[in-house]
């Protein structure tokens, strides 16, 4: 935001004209975008490398042999986890660019005033998105290859698998990098929509910022999302019913799960605000709590998109944990105690790996939370100044920003846990419902109880709250630096 003002005086020389042209890279938000792009690109590279390596090990194993099923399952998991990371990354990037534009409003307005078209301004922003996307993707590609090589070397040494032939450079590595660069570009384009709303008049002193958010004046386009959700939920129910007689029910349930979850993700603006409202009510009636709660609803689209990223991560982890735990119950009836112990340890290991994989998305979501809170502070400098003038203490300002973060995080946690339990149970029920657990040998469908494992859930809750807390550090510092006199400053 202030990069233009802080440009070094020496930049007048031609030698530095190039660095001046890239001054925008130092703006707040650009670093975060590069970081997010690098994390998701590196994550993709590492998972592809891991899949390739595990497949190589399997090939070398005389018992597993050439079976393609492992590669297939790992491939699907890679797509799911990397896809989730990239989806959250693009939401974060779009929000980040909205932040960047909020900080640049004055500058854009000035350019509009002297004749630049809104469209050309927006294209410039999107082009900058492509540049940071490519930079991040390349950094992630290189970092990912290095990490994967190091990891494979370490595991090979640990397990004594020296004989495995495995290439460290797979052309497929380029895929996540390319996708990340393109999604960053697209996200920058979508996040820069606000450029079109900047009027040349805003360059003139004393203009009053828009005081109310996008509540009410935008019709929610959610028909498709609701149809998807309804169809998905129906298929999920059908899968559970079919599952009582055949394990194939899980396939129907899987399709239902994917459809309904997509519906929820697309319709975040419809489904998340009621949860936000509910959680906001729990914070009580103090003025800081009320201001915090209402702020999250002032830009429902922005808050909902941010929350849905966390919802997806939490739901996915919970789903796996609940499904695996429910499965344990069925297996307990089927297997002997010795085998059960072995299975349980495998299941716990799988559960832990899943959490680690979703954890990457959680880190990206945390970066997004930082940006979301930052834009809230940047856009509300005058409002914060006004509140400070009227007697809001710095401590209350800090509490307000933290409550805003807690508001979104808790809403996302509650929604994610609820969805995860439903999906996990539906998955386990549709897959194992036809296995008879009747000790008398009489064939009868089984109805499972959703088993919620305590410690993984505690871990999810703690990790989310910890990341949220970390995410508030920068925005609270920014907010407490707003001076009361800023309420009187003309923009």
């Amino acid at each position: 935001m202030s990069a233009v003002l802080e440009r070094p005086r020496a930049a007048a020389s031609t030698a530095q004209a190039g660095s001046r042209r890239l001054a925008w890279l130092r703006e707040r938000g650009m670093g975060a975008t590069i970081l997010v792009a690098a994390i998701s690109s590196a994550f993709g590279v590492i998972l592809i490398a891991a899949t390739g390596y595990i497949t190589s090990i399997a090939r070398a194993d005389p018992y597993l042999g050439e079976s393609g099923s492992i590669a297939f399952v790992l491939g699907i998991l890679t797509v799911v986890f990397v896809g989730l990371a990239m989806y959250i990354a693009s939401i974060v990037t779009a929000n980040t660019f909205a932040t960047v534009i909020a900080g640049r409003t004055r500058q854009i307005a000035l350019l509009r005033l002297i004749g630049a078209s809104a469209r050309s301004q927006r294209q410039r922003v999107a082009a900058q998105g492509l540049v940071v996307g490519v930079l991040g993707a390349l950094a992630g590609l290189l970092g990912g290859i290095a990490l994967a090589a190091a990891g494979i070397w370490a595991i090979g040494r640990m397990l004594g698998l020296d004989g495995i032939s495995h290439t460290l450079l797979d052309p497929a590595f380029a895929l996540p990098a390319i996708v990340v660069a393109l999604t960053t570009w697209a996200a920058a384009w979508s996040g820069s929509r606000a450029v079109l709303r900047v009027t040349p008049l805003q360059a003139l002193a004393g203009s009053v910022p828009a005081t109310h958010g996008d509540t009410g004046n935008r019709r929610v386009r959610g028909g498709g999302a609701i149809v998807l959700l309804a169809a998905g939920a129906a298929l999920l129910g059908l899968g559970v019913l079919v599952g009582l007689f055949s394990p194939l029910g899980v396939l129907i349930a899987f399709v239902g799960g994917v459809l309904s979850f997509t519906g929820i993700a697309l319709g975040a603006v419809i489904f998340i605000p009621p949860v936000l409202r509910l959680i906001g009510r729990l914070f009580g009636g103090s003025v800081t709590a009320r201001l915090a709660a209402q702020h999250a609803l002032r830009h429902p689209a922005r808050s909902s998109r941010m929350a849905i990223g966390v919802v997806m991560g939490v739901a996915l982890v919970t789903m796996f944990a609940v499904a695996l735990e429910s499965m344990k119950g069925v297996l307990a009836a089927e297997l002997g105690s010795e085998l059960l112990a072995e299975f349980t340890s495998v299941i716990d290991a799988v559960s832990a790996i899943m959490m680690g994989l979703v954890g990457v998305s959680a880190v990206i979501a945390a970066v997004g939370m930082v940006n979301l809170l930052t834009i809230g502070v940047v856009q509300r400098r005058r409002e914060l100044g006004l509140l400070r003038a009227l007697g809001l203490s710095n401590r209350q300002v800090r509490a307000m920003v933290m409550l805003e973060a807690a508001h979104i995080a808790i809403a996302a946690l509650v929604a994610g846990l609820a969805l995860g339990i439903v999906y996990g149970w539906a998955g386990a029920q549709s897959a194992f419902g036809s296995i008879s657990t009747n000790p008398l040998g009489e064939v009868m469908p089984t109805v499972l109880w959703p088993a919620v494992p305590l410690w993984p859930m505690v871990a999810v809750v703690c990790a989310t709250l910890l990341l949220t807390l970390v995410a508030t550090v920068v925005p609270t510092r920014l907010a407490t630096r707003v001076a009361p006199v800023e309420a009187l400053a003309a923009d």
């Binding site: 009053v208 109310h212 005058r382 009227l390 309420a487």
Partner: protein, 274 residues
């Protein structure tokens, strides 16, 4: 808690006390706020701009005072320091009998919350709160409910400002004049030592502007509210009981109530002299 700041007649007893403490208090001077040898510079030493240069002045209790001056005269800086929004480079400032220079951020914040009312030119109201929420904000920030007496005062303000039907409206649903009236209700609700108004009519059409000025003048005339208003508009200043003129960071004149044309002429004279 407001009792200690209520107007107190200067009796021989208080005069005696001031001799004992070797310093006369703001209250004894009949002032709501005052500053002494106040200076304020901005920027680093080489290019420092002196916004205020040794100003000593008081805002009289129960009066409506206008502070006038051309742009850059230091009138806004003076008011910011008097209202506890900014700190001086040197000199001292008091609100009531409390010296505010040297107070920490939290103490200043609480002082503003309890003892200063604010009316700004624009962006006076918190957009997510309705009119009533904005009026109650100083109490809510203080974590308390208004007492029965304060409640009655607020009801009276809402009535006299004609805000009854608008209490549930958000700021963007109110006209500029209505927004300023909500800000006035909020500023007067706590019966503060000093109401500080910064160009309160700057964003209003002339009719709404006159209305707001009459309301401020009435608050001071009928309820003894001390008000300090920064303005560059001679019409606005003509509603005040007393007018202070600043130029180049110094107090250059002080006049009793004037007509707008007299103020205008004086201002023009100042410009020519400069």
């Amino acid at each position: 808690m407001y009792a200690e700041y209520l107007p107190r007649p200067t009796t021989p007893a208080t005069a005696l006390r001031s001799v004992e403490s070797m310093e006369i208090t703001t209250t004894e001077l009949g002032l709501a706020a005052r500053v002494q040898h106040l200076s304020r510079s901005y920027g680093r030493e080489d290019g420092a701009v002196r916004a205020l240069d040794g100003v000593s002045v008081g805002i009289r209790r129960g009066q409506f005072t206008a502070v006038m001056g051309p742009s850059g005269s230091g009138k806004s800086t003076l008011m910011h320091i008097m209202a506890g929004l900014d700190a001086p480079s040197s000199g001292r400032a008091w609100i009531g009998d409390t010296e505010i220079t040297g107070l920490g951020d939290l103490e200043l914040t609480i002082l503003r919350r309890r003892r200063v009312g604010f009316i700004f030119q624009a962006f006076n109201l918190v957009p997510t709160l309705d009119a009533l929420g904005n009026i109650m904000l100083p109490f809510e920030l203080d974590g308390r409910r208004p007492s029965a007496m304060e409640r009655a005062r607020i009801d009276g303000l809402i009535q006299s400002l004609g805000l009854g039907p608008r209490l549930g409206h958000r700021p963007h649903q109110l006209s500029g004049g209505q927004q300023q009236r909500v800000a006035i209700a909020r500023a007067l609700a706590t019966a503060p030592d000093l109401v500080f108004a910064d160009e309160p009519t700057g964003n209003l059409d002339s009719r709404s502007g006159r209305e707001v000025l009459s309301l401020l003048a009435a608050a001071s005339a009928e309820h003894g509210q001390s008000i300090a208003m920064v303005t560059h508009d001679p019409v606005a200043a003509s509603y005040a009981d007393r007018i202070l003129f600043l130029a180049d960071g110094r107090l250059v004149a002080e006049k009793p109530r004037q007509r707008a044309d007299e103020i205008s002429r004086f201002m023009l004279g100042m410009e020519v002299a400069a």
